[in-house]
């Protein structure tokens, strides 16, 4: 008898969906590297060219996400007959086999400003349904696990925490930009990420403040950030979405990462900066205290005075934070996350 087949939904690949895409790409890479002999792995994707060797690509073109989850994925699963299927956020309308679902965060429950009304309604219907119907839920942080227990009443023993990790591309050695010191902000420009608080904090530092480099796609907050920077006279540079090697170089050269977000299910930029040897100033919100441990400076969310003080202390305490951050980042690895994920597959197939 051949090894049981596990089908992984990898539709996000190649679609510039920052967090989800990093998760699926890194997980597939490490699952392929682990090359389990007792399982066959297949990835459902619209971009078979992005699937690493060792995982069987199954092409499924899609135009509408709703039609895909309602009709084409169930049909594909009926033909493929996997022993187990693994999805991100939501399950298809019908699933002929036990399913695993990865849930990044429940920010759409905790903070309505995270997404538009339509998306929010879809998530509020699909995510709790997926969490209840799945045989196992993978949460990316202890916070997401607690939220799943508290908000949806999912039994704790059904949830396994498989954290994210910094990509190996983020490391202290390598090129970095020359020139004036700068503080780095990484994240989509949207209210939840509080780019304006970062700008206000630099304005409060005033004389001698580093300039602010912002990396991340515009999700409706760019105009406000530009307007605030112009009004307060803060030097900012908006870089938009950039390739990973360019981002890695920016991390290495930064005086500190400024991450004032109101809510995060994980906060991957924290680990990316730490892995690059860069001090981190973040808000004590969502999963950030859990991920940062003692290796970052954590300040009150939404308070530019606190953030300004935190930036000054991060720069003053560079050496300690650099050492603590490198140690912290190395505690998280995709290899370990893939190992735990495989363990879950095996438990469910046993």
């Amino acid at each position: 008898m051949s090894a049981p087949l596990v089908a992984i939904d990898a539709d996000v690949l190649g679609r510039q969906r920052t967090g989800d895409e990093t998760y699926v790409r890194s997980l597939l890479r490490e699952l392929a590297a682990a090359s389990p002999s007792d399982l066959r792995l297949a990835a459902i994707t619209r971009r078979p060219d992005l699937i690493p060797a060792g995982i069987e690509p199954v092409e499924l073109p899609a135009r509408s996400q709703v039609m895909r989850m309602a009709v084409s994925v169930p049909r594909l699963l009926r033909r493929l007959r996997p022993a187990l299927a693994h999805f991100v956020h939501a399950l298809p309308l019908r699933c002929p086999c036990p399913a695993v679902v990865t849930i990044q965060d429940l920010s759409f429950e905790r903070d309505p400003s995270v997404m538009g009304t339509r998306d929010r309604l879809i998530f509020r219907a699909a995510v709790p349904r997926a969490a209840r119907r799945a045989a196992r839920v993978l949460a990316i942080s202890e916070l997401t696990k607690r939220d799943l227990v508290e908000l949806y009443g999912i039994p704790e023993q059904k949830i396994t925490v498989t954290p994210l990790a910094a990509d190996p591309a983020f490391r202290p050695e390598g090129p970095s930009p020359d020139g004036e010191p700068y503080a780095l902000f990484v994240g989509a420009l949207q209210p939840r990420k509080e780019a304006t608080t970062a700008i206000e904090a630099l304005a409060l530092i005033g004389e001698g403040a580093p300039r602010l480099v912002l990396v991340g796609p515009d999700k409706g907050g760019r105009a406000e950030a530009e307007e605030k920077a112009a009004r307060l006279g803060v030097a900012v540079e908006l870089r938009g979405h950039i390739p990973q090697d360019e981002l890695a170089s920016l991390y290495r050269g930064a005086a500190c990462l400024v991450f004032p977000s109101r809510y995060e299910g994980f906060g991957l930029p924290l680990l990316e900066a730490m892995a690059s040897g860069t001090p981190v100033v973040a808000s004590a919100a969502g999963a950030l205290p859990e991920i940062a441990g003692e290796a970052a400076i954590l300040v009150e969310p939404g308070n530019p005075v606190a953030l300004a003080g935190g930036i000054e202390r991060a720069i003053a305490d560079h050496e300690r934070l650099r050492a603590a951050g490198l140690a912290r980042a190395s505690a998280y690895s995709w290899t370990e996350t893939a190992r735990r994920t495989l363990e879950v597959y095996r438990e469910l197939l046993a």
Binding site: E142, G293, G309
Partner: protein, 250 residues
């Protein structure tokens, strides 16, 4: 204007006179907060009379708001400072801009050394220390670790937190952190403040060159189930709800 001191007095506390007299020559602003039910001699200190009984955190926050010096001392009324104690703390804090909280060496009135440095609480340690379990589970050894009894540094030392009897607080830090959390009742504000200070990158230093006499009454230690024990447990619950990630370290 360098240093302000806020002394808290609640009915049942000893006369704050000796405390205020010892502080007055060493500080620029002196405030006495008084909970209702008594009117102690103020010895020239500015009096803030609370209309209802307020906890440690709320009293300190009121005192901080009523003063403007860059350093604020939070003091119980059963304290007497020795000459130069405050100058020692202030010059240390001046030399260490990351120092947000500085605590002196505490001594009993008879001159014995009083342990005042603490490690952040752990669930196991607290369960044992605060329940009858402490009678059976080698309490001395655990107490020694929690109270850092084996470590009596004579040089300044970094610490997790201190007994809240007498602390020098940097006003800039208090402004950043939004002051003390007034939701605690009698226990826990000092741990919470030190924990949030640590998260925000502020250092907490024990400065043994500054010596302060503490007429300490260890109330919790005598009985297991009193109103104070209940407050203590409520404080622990609040701390864990506020900082769930601290559980990982516990």
């Amino acid at each position: 204007m360098k240093t302000a001191a806020v002394v808290i007095w609640t009915p049942g506390d000893p006369d704050p006179g000796p405390c205020l007299d010892s502080l007055a020559p060493q500080v620029d602003e002196l405030v006495l907060t008084v909970n209702p039910g008594g009117s102690p001699a103020s010895r020239g200190a500015e009096v803030i009379a609370n209309e209802r009984t307020l906890g440690f955190g709320a009293n300190i926050n009121r005192g901080v708001a009523a003063t403007s010096a860059p350093y604020v001392i939070a003091s119980n009324s059963d304290i007497e400072v020795t000459p130069e104690a405050i100058a020692e703390l202030v010059s240390f804090a001046d030399a260490h801009p990351l120092c947000g909280i500085a605590a002196p060496q505490l001594r009993y009135p008879d001159g014995r050394w009083q342990p005042s440095r603490r490690s952040f609480p752990t669930i196991r340690g607290t369960l044992i220390r605060r329940t009858p379990l402490r009678r059976v589970l080698h309490p001395e050894q655990r107490q020694r670790e929690h109270y850092l009894l084996d470590d009596q540094p004579d040089e300044p030392a970094l610490s997790d937190w201190f007994l809240g009897a007498f602390l020098l607080l940097r006003r800039g830090m208090l402004e950043e952190l939004g002051g003390l959390d007034e939701g605690y009742h009698l226990y826990g504000e000092d741990i919470d403040l030190a924990y949030r200070a640590r998260q925000a990158g502020w250092e907490r230093w024990y400065v043994p060159a500054a010596v302060v006499v503490h007429h300490h009454q260890a109330v919790t230690d005598r009985r297991f189930l009193t109103r104070r024990t209940l407050w203590h447990w409520r404080s622990i619950a609040r701390f864990v709800r506020k900082h769930p990630e601290s559980l990982r370290a516990l």
